[in-house]
């Protein structure tokens, strides 16, 4: 386990943009790489945290739906003014995106797939 701490520390310092993206659940709570590092440093739920880090980017679909929802909720809680999501000929706010995710409709499915691409990239950079 000890090797995870320096690895995670260097991941966060090299990829600050990805440090606060939810990657898995520990005791029912979504955790980010930054939170995972803090938990490992405190020696808290070490087994579960290591399991989350090992499975990052390979979660079952039901869990990914929850994660992408948590991710957009986190984005909406940021204090600065959020960007708009554009598709050629269309546009969508972050809260509209969240609503599509919650409804799990066609656009929600696209948002999920694109979020899975992001977590796969995170997993690649963490290994």
């Amino acid at each position: 386990m000890a090797f995870k701490i320096p690895k995670l520390t260097s991941f966060i310092s090299a990829n600050p943009a990805l440090a606060d993206v939810p990657i898995g659940y520990v005791k029912g709570i979504a955790i980010t790489p930054r939170q995972a590092l803090a938990m490992l440093q405190r020696g808290e739920a070490v087994k579960e945290v290591v399991a989350v880090l090992s499975a990052a980017g390979m979660d079952p679909i039901q869990q990914d739906w929850k994660l992408v929802e948590d991710y957009y909720i986190k984005l909406l809680q940021l204090p600065s003014s959020p960007p708009t999501i554009y598709v050629i000929g269309e546009e969508m706010t972050l809260s509209e995106a969240l609503s599509h995710i919650q409804q799990r409709d066609l656009i929600g499915q696209q948002l999920l797939r694109s979020y899975q691409g992001l977590t796969r990239e995170m997993a690649r950079r963490m290994r």
Binding site: P16, A17, V21, P83, G89, G117, L118, E121
Partner: protein
């Protein structure tokens, strides 16, 4: 046979989203005009009839089109349908097409290639980006469109279709690396869609086609070719020392 060094751009602008693609395609059109004859159907000029008239009249080897689309449809200004799978795509025979439009890579682009288009770049996903400011100043949007324009710019410089694809993918990766290092609160959102668009970008058809003649390589500083007489002279001098 389409004319080499002739390019047709169709870049509608009818809402906030197309204002971005229109702006960036304008930069690509200006770049292309340095080496090619460019027909630029800008904003409301990007109609179906103008596009087909220009294909007929100018016979461009390279087309860079933008507009709303799906797996079977490409549309131009005000979402006027220009092409659907198996109807209209035969007009692309012998041409290289960059189709900046959602999901056309699923069926329309392969169909165009099967009808004789030399090569088509398309997306198998909905091309998506994030932005906050106006197109000319927005920091989030630049990476998406510059990576697509990298295809056009490379083709203009005489690169092959595959080389242009590789240059574009390298651009996507550079932007992804740039944003992973960012502490901007929305950097992960920018990244999410950069990865999405990069992974959805496909090249169909020929990997070795060119739309313009490559410029002869210019020597870098320190690599100025030494004239042959000097080389011969040095060789003779060296040989005479050995004997």
């Amino acid at each position: 046979m389409p004319r080499e060094n002739v390019a047709l751009f169709a870049r509608p602008s009818f809402d906030r989203a197309t204002a971005y693609s229109n702006y960036y395609m304008g930069l690509a059109a200006a770049y292309a005009s340095r080496k090619m004859r460019v027909i630029d159907l800008d904003k409301s000029a990007a109609t179906k009839s103008n596009i087909f008239a220009s294909l007929e009249e100018n016979d461009p080897i390279f087309c860079y089109f933008n507009g709303h689309g799906n797996a079977d449809t490409f549309s131009a200004h005000d979402k006027e349908i220009v092409m659907v799978t198996c109807n209209g795509d035969e007009s692309l025979i012998g041409r290289v097409l960059l189709l900046l439009s959602c999901s056309c890579g699923i069926r329309l682009a392969p169909s165009a290639v099967s009808k004789g288009a030399t090569a088509v770049y398309g997306w198998v996903v909905d091309f998506t980006w994030v932005a906050t400011d106006d197109p000319g100043t927005d920091v989030y949007a630049a990476g998406y469109f510059e990576s697509v324009n990298a295809i056009s710019n490379a083709l203009v410089e005489g690169k092959t279709t595959q080389e242009a694809m590789d240059i574009s993918l390298a651009s996507w990766n550079q932007w992804i690396d740039y944003w992973t290092r960012s502490v901007d609160p929305y950097a992960s959102q920018v990244l999410q869609w950069l990865i999405h668009d990069r992974d959805g970008q496909k090249l169909f058809g020929s990997t070795s086609a060119r739309v313009s003649t490559p410029a002869p390589p210019t020597p870098d500083v320190g690599e100025i070719p030494v004239p042959l007489p000097f080389m011969t002279g040095y060789s003779i001098l060296f040989l005479s020392l050995l004997l």
